[in-house]
């Protein structure tokens, strides 16, 4: 009997076709290694819908393992494809740079170390817990990035600047040692984030996926 009630409830909640997804499908396909160029989003006439599509495109970078591995859902970063925890087993520590004896800088330096495949970039650290986004949907991530309490205290303009020029963010496209880089380029990513902000920083529906 309970299952009948549940089924009836589910039927009553059936959603209308997702307009964001429909708009998304109108965009040209793109290789997993690339980002769609900014101009293709101009074919979406409604600025709010364009903004949502732009965010979905940028979510392919935010949620790529090169970026999300160090925005973990716990106190240890991930590595590789995002399915394994960092080895050796580090913890974030009080300043998100490890604990004494196991600081990030004990191994990670200013640039990639090809000799031993240790990745490196300036200011290597794990994102604060408030900036965790592993396991979140694009919409959840979008809402988080607009919340200064959960985006590192940034305005949207500062968020654009950070994504477009930060040196640690830049590592995502030059990870070295055969690691798969984030899609596209940092310049493309920065331009897409800027366009998202310029179109009102709209967030996609919960179900929308890139």
């Amino acid at each position: 009997m309970a299952s009948v009630v549940l089924l009836a409830g589910a039927g009553g909640c059936r959603r209308q076709p997702d307009s964001d997804a429909t708009r998304w499908e109108s965009l040209p396909p793109v290789d997993a290694r690339d980002l769609r160029p900014l101009d293709v989003f101009q074919r979406i006439e409604d600025p709010a819908q364009r903004s949502r599509a732009l965010f979905l495109e940028t979510s392919r970078v935010y949620l790529h393992p090169r970026c999300s591995n160090c925005h973990p859902d716990g106190d240890s970063p991930y590595q590789d494809s995002g399915e394994t925890l960092h080895n050796p087993p580090v913890t974030r520590g009080p300043e998100d740079k490890g604990v004494v004896g196991m600081e990030c800088a004990g191994c990670h330096q200013e640039k990639n170390l090809e000799l031993a495949r240790v990745p490196g970039a300036p200011n290597w650290h794990v994102a604060p817990r408030s900036m965790s986004w592993v396991g979140k949907s694009p919409r959840e991530l979008c809402e988080q990035l607009k919340d200064s309490k959960r985006n590192g205290g940034k305005t949207l303009e500062q968020l654009v600047e950070h994504n477009a020029h930060d040196e640690l963010v830049a590592w995502g496209w030059a990870p070295g040692s055969g690691r798969q880089p984030a899609p596209g380029t940092q310049a493309q990513f920065g331009a897409l984030v800027a366009a998202w902000v310029a179109t009102g920083a709209q967030c996609p529906s919960e179900e929308a996926r890139p």
């Binding site: 913890t91 004494v100 004896g101 196991m102 800088a105 004990g106 240790v118």
Partner: protein, 154 residues
């Protein structure tokens, strides 16, 4: 390229490739073989030394990073082997094969310098990157607590 580095209190000028791992310079150039080569990829902790007091894995630290800085190895932890950790290590008979022990001691020394009264969790987190294939972890933890004067309830 000439690298100037102070190792265990002694100024050294090394004419080596700046990309040479610090571990190579310590062991092969300076003859300080107390620091061990384990994995060569910063995964085991056997090569842990202090760079200006901070623990680094010498196997992945190019010697250029140490230029103008102070390196401390197990040979320089104390002048006579009398560091509280070294005494506790002997009293509790911590090592088995001993290969990992200099790395364990250097990490533990950095921990106690920053947290003189560490909890079990502090010890476990700070030494999590120092592997011991003999499995002496319980004795390592007990010795760190003994050196710190923290009662070991076990």
């Amino acid at each position: 390229m000439s690298i100037r580095v102070r190792v265990n209190g002694v100024e050294q000028e090394l004419d080596v490739d700046p990309e040479m791992p610090l571990l190579w310079a310590l062991r092969d150039v300076l003859g300080l073989t107390g620091t061990k080569y384990g994995c060569g990829q910063a995964l085991c902790g056997a090569c842990s030394v202090h760079l200006d007091g901070q623990v680094v894995r010498a196997c992945v630290t190019p010697i250029r990073r140490a230029d103008g800085r102070e390196v401390t190895t197990i040979e320089g932890l104390s002048p006579d082997g009398g560091h509280p950790l070294q005494r506790a290590w002997v009293e509790l008979g911590v090592p088995q094969c001993g290969f990992c022990q200099s790395g364990q001691l250097m990490c533990a020394a950095a921990l106690l310098a920053k947290k003189p009264q560490p909890t079990d969790a502090d010890i476990d987190q700070s030494l999590a990157g120092n592997l011991c294939r003999c499995g002496t972890y319980t004795r390592i933890r007990a010795a760190v607590k003994k050196a710190a004067g923290v009662p070991d309830s076990k």
